[in-house]
């Protein structure tokens, strides 16, 4: 089967080429804001973010950044662009943007929406719907908005004023808040006559470790996420000197680093799995180890030891990883003696679960066999027509950017439902494609590819950081570093657009391409074609751009994988068959009230 010419009118084609944007759950137009940062237009860069992801200052410090492993730069040199930390630059240097935010709706549309929980998912729904005239009421058991952003993420990673500012932008859109109000009946809430209810209640329950000694030593064994929120709200200000943190995820990393700041001088993280398999992000592990916290692997807790009702330590079994017949990793007893590690306190950070005690099971809202609500992956509607879910409450614990992405989609659904339209009729994205040519060798973007390696974000002096749990560790890029880091971005959204009719097959583009992307060859089946390009196209996640038949009956094939978007093919082309065109895609939002393009 010969390959058909690529249909570049399908917005997904060029969207996929912008790896970072494609990977971002909220599809933030990353290169667009990075260019604005390089141009010194921080407020504009902030607004591009704010429209897409609602919490640029928060995410610029805490995002799980799925965009970075996807970033094309990471495939042509050692490290991806520091996309996340550039987002923070936009937030740090934006100045006063209040005048650019939408204003509360002047007229109501008569529809009332209840949001349960004031975490990022609910706040996104509120931001999208309030300016459209919906009467939005947010309920939260806590006294302030932000959800786990406020209750869980330690202040040394995310200062309180950043949360206040960005949660404030949303609440100032005319959103009614009912804080210190825990909803204990969904039925009751529905009975209040809301047109829709959004459950953004998170995954609030920390998993416990039921082992011998758990009861007896309970006073010094703490559930990680409960302990972190007590620390966040100032209820806990100290911990023992010797602390063991059980678990290998990001919660464990926050626990150990918080313990180091509250009097823990010997804090150790102990993990069942190997170091590589730990769930924590690589940078979180690096930061913990930098604070003198050893991470010990392949140790499974067996027992909490205690004396006179006081915890004395934890007993561990040593294990090793083995691959079983089915190719699965299994932990096996290593055949070595157990290890006892003395300690004063234990923080249990072995997982997080959903809990919906406030939802009645007899109101037409179905739960599955894991006791999770049945939620549509696209519309976020439950089996109850008026009830929607998003964030950690929808499909289990994820992260902030997923909560935002869910929130946007749920808001679209709620808007459609309230207008009596089909939820499946999702609005298409807004797409712009425009030539960037300014002259023979001149483009409206900076096509000179930087050779700089990734810049490291400066950190606070360790002694100062460990002395104050509120002292932010990362200081953020200064403007010089930010510019240089921004220049590392390859502008993957400036797309190479090929016109079959103009090409005279002179080979100039093939010869100049620094990464051997382009081949003129006989057409063929994709798998076979991939092997006989100028550079074999081995990355199957990246598309081939294929032209129609040219004069010599060959086709042009471009492997998108490592294109530097340098525009040299277009500069070299004598006929303009290649052009560099900026592709801007804005994912549709409810009513698009927050988009100003």
């Amino acid at each position: 089967m010969l390959l058909l010419p690529t249909d570049i009118r399908n917005p997904d084609y060029f969207h996929k080429v912008v790896d970072c944007q494609w990977a971002c759950p909220a599809h933030t137009p990353v290169p667009e804001y990075i260019r604005l940062i390089a141009a010194g237009r921080y407020a504009d860069a902030y607004m591009v973010n704010w429209e897409s992801n609602v919490f640029p200052g928060i995410l610029g410090r805490t995002c799980d950044r799925p965009c970075e492993p996807a970033c094309r730069r990471g495939r042509v040199e050692e490290e991806p662009v520091a996309i996340c930390r550039l987002k923070r630059v936009a937030a740090d240097y934006k100045g006063d943007i209040s005048a650019r935010l939408p204003t509360p709706a002047t007229a109501r549309n008569g529809k009332r929406i209840a949001l349960v929980g004031a975490g990022p998912a609910s706040l996104t729904v509120a931001r999208d719907l309030a300016p459209l005239g919906y009467e939005v009421v947010v309920f939260d058991g806590e006294s302030r908005g932000g959800g786990m952003i406020r209750s869980q993420i330690p202040k040394f990673r995310l200062p309180e004023q950043v949360i206040d500012e960005e949660v404030g932008y949303v609440l100032d859109l005319g959103v009614e808040t009912r804080f210190d109000t825990r909803i204990d009946s969904l039925k009751g809430l529905l009975d209040e006559g809301f047109d829709a209810v959004f459950a953004g209640s998170g995954a609030p329950r920390g998993r416990d470790l039921v082992l011998p000694g758990r009861q007896e030593a309970a006073g010094n064994i703490h559930i990680g996420i409960d302990w972190l929120s007590s620390v966040s709200f100032g209820h806990i200000t100290a911990i023992g000197k010797r602390v063991i943190v059980l678990g290998g995820g990001n919660t464990a990393m926050d626990c150990c680093r918080s313990a180091r700041r509250l009097g823990g001088t010997e804090v150790t993280v102990v993990v069942r799995s190997g170091f590589e398999e730990m769930k924590a992000s690589p940078w979180e592990k690096v930061d913990a180890m930098h604070e003198d916290i050893p991470i010990l692997n392949f140790l499974v807790p067996k027992e909490f030891t205690h004396e006179d009702g006081r915890l004395t330590g934890v007993l561990f079994e040593k294990v090793r990883a083995e691959i079983d017949e089915k190719g699965r990793r299994k932990l096996m007893n290593a055949g070595e003696p157990d290890v006892h590690m003395p300690c004063d306190d234990v923080l249990v950070a072995v997982g997080q679960e959903n809990a919906f005690p406030w939802i009645e099971r007899d109101i037409g809202l179905e739960f599955d066999r894991w006791d999770m609500p049945v939620v549509d992956q696209v519309t976020f509607r439950s089996t109850h027509p008026k009830v929607f879910f998003g964030g950690d409450a929808a499909f289990g614990p994820k992260n902030i950017i997923w909560a935002v992405a869910h929130g946007h989609q749920a808001a679209i659904s709620i808007d459609l439902a309230c207008r009596g339209e089909e939820l499946q009729n999702r609005p298409p994205p807004h797409v712009w494609l425009s030539s960037q040519k300014m002259g023979i060798h001149e483009w409206s973007y900076d096509n000179d590819v930087s050779n700089d390696l990734r810049f490291a974000v400066p950190h606070q002096d360790k002694a100062i950081a460990l002395a104050d749990i509120k002292a932010e560790v990362e200081l953020g890029f200064d403007l010089k570093q930010a510019f240089a880091e921004a220049q590392r971005c390859l502008n993957c959204d400036v797309e190479t657009v090929f016109s079959d009719a103009a090409c005279i097959e002179c080979d100039a583009c093939v010869d100049i391409c620094p990464v051997d992307c382009i081949t003129f060859t006989e057409n063929g089946p994709e798998a076979e074609l991939r092997t006989r390009l100028n550079a074999p196209a081995v990355n199957l996640t990246q598309d081939l751009y294929v032209s129609g038949p040219l004069k010599t009956a060959r086709v042009m094939v471009k492997d998108e994988d490592v294109c530097l978007h340098c525009g040299l093919c277009a500069e070299r082309c004598p006929t303009g068959a290649w052009d560099m065109q900026r592709f801007l895609l804005d994912v549709a939002q409810a009513g698009s009230a927050c988009s100003k393009h």
């Binding site: 495939r75 042509v76 040199e77 023979i440 060798h441 001149e442 483009w443 900076d446 096509n447 000179d448 590819v449 050779n451 005279i504 097959e505 002179c506 080979d507 100039a508 093939v510 010869d511 100049i512 620094p514 990464v515 051997d516 550079a535 074999p536 081995v538 004069k551 010599t552 490592v562 530097l564 340098c566 040299l568 500069e571 070299r572 082309c573 004598p574 006929t575």
Partner: protein, 351 residues
Amino acid sequence: MTFLPKPKLHHPGLAANTLGFTRRDYEGTISTLCAGCGHDSISAAIVHACFELDLPPHRIAKLSGIGCSSKTPTYFLGNSHGFNSVHGRMPSVLTGANLANRELIYLGVSGDGDSASIGLGQFAHAMRRGVNMVYIVENNGVYGLTKGQFSATSDKGAKSKRGVVNNDEAIDLVSMAMQLGAGFVARSFSGDKGQLVPLIQAALTHQGAAFIDCISPCVAFNNHVGSTKSFDYVREHNEAVNYLDFITEREEITVDYAPGSVEVVKQHDGSLLRLRKIAGDYDVHDRAAAISFLQHRRASGEIVTGLLYVDQEPDDLHGYMNTVSTPFNELVEADLCPGSAALDKLNAALR
């Protein structure tokens, strides 16, 4: 922004040759020729050929005359020796260099104006002397650098961009090279690297004068309807007599071909040229027949390409002159000055 340097970043899978160099290490600075110029494709082919032959860049000398074509040595082999001589004088400068140091690999790059007009005599003598070199003419049928006047290789009846007809007979450098005794003669097309790269490799490993006439469309002045050196015209009239695979001693021949369709030519350095014949009866070792074949095809408007002639027992200028194997530039006074006793002896012999 104008003329950026080509980004240093390269494909993660970019291969290295046995010297540890990648193809990118054989590039030069970025070309300043017109976008789409055939000459740039020839530069790229030279880069490919030298990379694949594992040639140490510092053992290559590239020499040229004047013209767009003669500018190209700046755009390839940035780590090799270079000499940009005066118009039409590349052959004599190269001959001198070759005499002084026979151990370098000599690559002469010229244009149709540079070689067929002002430098025609120089071209002729380099061929007949058998200077050990690769002589590439980047043939676009015009003086590109001086804005597109007809050159001496422009076909009679060809039209210029402004519609003027060329009434002069064209010089066919390929036929001349054969007549003058070049040991290796080929013609190719800048738009066909599959043919050109192995030809350059074969020429680089040939001993003696190896001549390649490479048709190279000038996109600015000679790529219009009415031109006989345009992409379209050359593609339509290209009559390849063979394609070549260049095989080093290390590689084995494994592919099976129909009997009679392939001929293997062994070169003096042990490398093999596998000729995939297209015109089955074409004999690359018969100089006289080749000249006649070329004349006939030319009369019927065809452009014959491929390896056209190769001498199976080649020799070169140094062989004809019986020079010492040590390069002249390494000979010291003791080697060169035989002393007064020897002089007395010589004088006595002449009395």
